[in-house]
Symmetry: C2
């Protein structure tokens, strides 16, 4: 019976792991460049921390960990017979696997508030677990790559997060559109529609514009009890086009009577202007476009200010990064009034985009620079010394451990994609040279032992 | 109510995370330098993969994950009423958290055998979970840092692993003794004692020499049913002293009639000689001593050839790295005959040693090089441009996001340990300069905007 892993989980082999590390390290480097500091929280959290934070559906998707020892010791026979599943689960499980990085972060901030200097800029790159139905591109164990600033209301944080998204995708070589919206603008729209209480239905519906089209959105608004008059008022907003300046001008007219709506427009304008004033990238590349997109609502009712979303331009795929500003992150843990703003890179989707566009750099593979073949005890003793010399210069090198047929050793070199193979046989040993084979060109030449490092660098 | 995390788990703040990354990255760099390739396996494994692999005690220490949905659907009322805890656990949990990296690796090798090129040199740095009673230095969630070679019987693998241990600890600046033994020598000793069937009791007892002393070891051997004659024969072995050469010479005499014992001595001698022939470290530092230690048995009955253990010389602490050769890693998953050899660095103990000896490098903290203070909209606009210029050179920089009192901003700079603070007020803005404060010396000087990067580098 072939062993297997739970559905929705994955093994990552050497090549995949190297490529994933390339993604994580790129994101990490940019976060650190902007002064975000990494933290790590445990995979296991108390269920009391997790339950009730992700809605009823989310509670069902939490992986719960069975208490150790006699997990039934405090459960009565009557309770068992009742088979009240959620209740019983709560009695036999105290811990669960984290579902995202946001709730553990909120818990962390409250638990460690005395030690933290505000504003606190943290990033976190760790796996999360969800008992979702696995399907293409959706896993039960996957990484999130979050950065958040808490304890600062300044819009400069939004500016910085857009800079980060732009920089990360330029490093990847992925052309993207960075979409920007503001929950306050959406609130303003609902206000002028005379449907302020329907804000959630409105944002949920217009968020679907890309997927289901205008007619279906309008139908959904009607079903939500929004009158035709109000829906008519919404049309110019949904169909809004032009440059950011043009959109802002139109919206200032539409929202002229909504204080909150105008505030949202001011915020967006501030962020766009601040980005505009930044110097162009030094490498001459152009920055990714930042586009005001009023249809962007990101389902979540969570955001209270700016909302971000990144779409790849050259691949058909959903959002590859998202985020926004939220109020009261930590209120649920007893520390109210702390606002934050954050983003999250979707590592799995970025992996797919980089694969489809063939953008992984060659270095994002794991292979030594040179493999020394093994022709016997005496020859290999020399190879050990040479390999150590190469490694001392920081260049990865490997000695084939077994004295087996050359064909087998070369098959190993090929499978690993090693750029150079070094051969020290009886003759080379006597002459203190190395026969060096360039595996890409197929050429083989003799180099003095002392010149090996230069020859492979 | 202050939120908390499950006992035995930990939050790692920015400084701890940076220091842990320094440890992981150092180990990773050395593994990669030797051609080991990183893989990652899921935290969640099928319980069928994990159960029965760690002994009865280990099975109890597995964290089991409750099945999603109606976990009782296939459990009858009779089964519930019976309260057979292990049986019920198996009925309501299919998955568990990995307990170590070795069993998932064995499972990985068997599952992916068609894709793998042997010998397969892999490393893996991931957390594991154990429902152990938490105590000082023992956690329920902790990282392991393993490297193994499978599919090669060559002793050059042992040589390479010792090189790796030596290199890693030299990079850390931790002076260590690398202890080497061989299970075959222990078997040989049991043979010449006429107590071959007591090999386990003998190794378990002599492994305790350091902890309980010679008398207690002899008492334990007696309790295990080993006769005084045999115990007498063991004394010169336990008390063995001198250089490796002297020990080998003595042992060749003691084990002259044991084929397996002599084989073990040959293996140890080969590894010691190969290491001896390697060039000295280029930086002039001396290599860590490798010492034949016949009392080293590492509890586990698991090892079949060389056994390694590393002890720090300047700190009282247990083993900080260990490993050895084992046969038949993958037999339990249906792929017999695959031998392997591996090591595992104890990251938590290494962290403690580095802390006690104050050896963490200053770079193993997370702080930007320069913090720009915020004196208002106009001034900060200039700072955003300057910060971006600094970052373009790869130097981390941060702009304080809020226009608040300077005292508060300086407190932030101090708390983060930022080396430089850049001040752009009204006057500096007009003169296109920056007032740059060196936070270590306390000195402040004016630098032209164009000279900022050089001034902080």
């Amino acid at each position: 019976m072939k062993p297997s892993i739970p559905k929705g989980t994955r093994d990552f082999g050497p090549v995949e792991t190297a490529r994933r590390n390339y993604i994580f390290n790129t994101i990490r480097d940019v976060y650190a460049l902007h002064g975000f500091r990494q933290i790590e929280t445990p995979a296991l959290e108390n269920l009391s921390t997790l339950l009730g934070k992700y809605g009823e559906e989310g509670d069902k998707l939490l992986f719960k960990v069975l208490n150790s020892g006699d997990f039934l010791s405090k459960v009565t026979d009557a309770e068992l017979a009742e088979r009240d599943i959620p209740r019983l689960a709560a009695r036999i499980c105290e811990k669960g696997l984290r579902y995202d990085l946001t709730v553990p972060f909120a818990r962390y901030v409250v638990q460690h508030r005395e030690e933290l200097q505000m504003p606190f800029k943290r990033y976190q790159i760790q796996p999360v677990w969800r008992a979702d139905r696995p399907q293409k591109g959706r896993y039960r164990e996957f990484y999130q790559c979050d950065a958040d600033v808490v304890g600062s209301d300044s819009l400069l944080n939004e500016v910085e997060l857009v800079q980060i998204m732009d920089d990360v995708f330029r490093r990847f070589g992925i052309r993207v559109s960075i979409k920007l919206n503001n929950r306050k603008i959406l609130t303003g729209i609902a206000e002028v529609m005379g449907a302020a209480d329907k804000i959630i239905a409105i944002t949920v519906a217009i968020d679907k514009l890309d997927k289901i089209g205008l007619d279906a959105v309008n139908e959904e608004l009607r079903t939500a009890g929004i009158c035709d008059d109000a829906i008519a008022k919404l049309q110019p907003v949904i169909g809004l086009a032009g440059t950011n300046e043009e959109k802002l001008r139109t919206m200032r007219a539409v929202l002229k009577d909504s204080e909150v709506g105008l505030k949202g427009l001011d915020e967006v304008e501030f962020v766009l202007n601040a980005l505009e004033a930044l110097p162009r990238p030094a490498d001459g590349s152009s920055r990714n476009a930042v586009e005001l997109d009023l249809t962007l609502a990101r389902g979540l009712n969570y955001y209270t200010g700016c909302i971000f979303e990144v779409k790849a331009l050259d691949v058909e795929i959903g959002s590859i990064t998202g985020g926004g500003r939220y109020d009261n992150l930590t209120g649920i843990f007893g520390l109210p009034g702390l606002s934050g703003v954050g983003i999250s890179f979707g590592a799995d989707r970025i992996y797919d985009v980089l694969t489809q566009l063939d953008l992984f750099p060659a270095e994002a593979a794991q292979s030594v620079r040179v493999l020394f073949l093994n022709f016997g005890a005496q020859e290999v003793a020399r190879c050990l010394v040479l390999a150590q010399m190469v490694r001392a210069a920081g260049v990865p090198a490997e000695v084939y451990p077994d004295t087996v047929k050359m064909k087998k050793q070369m098959a190993y070199a090929n499978a690993l994609g090693v750029p150079f193979v070094a051969i020290v046989g009886e003759d080379e040993l006597r002459r203190d040279i190395v026969a060096l084979k360039d595996m890409r060109s197929g050429e083989q030449r003799e180099v003095a032992a002392g010149g090996l490092l230069a020859a492979i660098s």
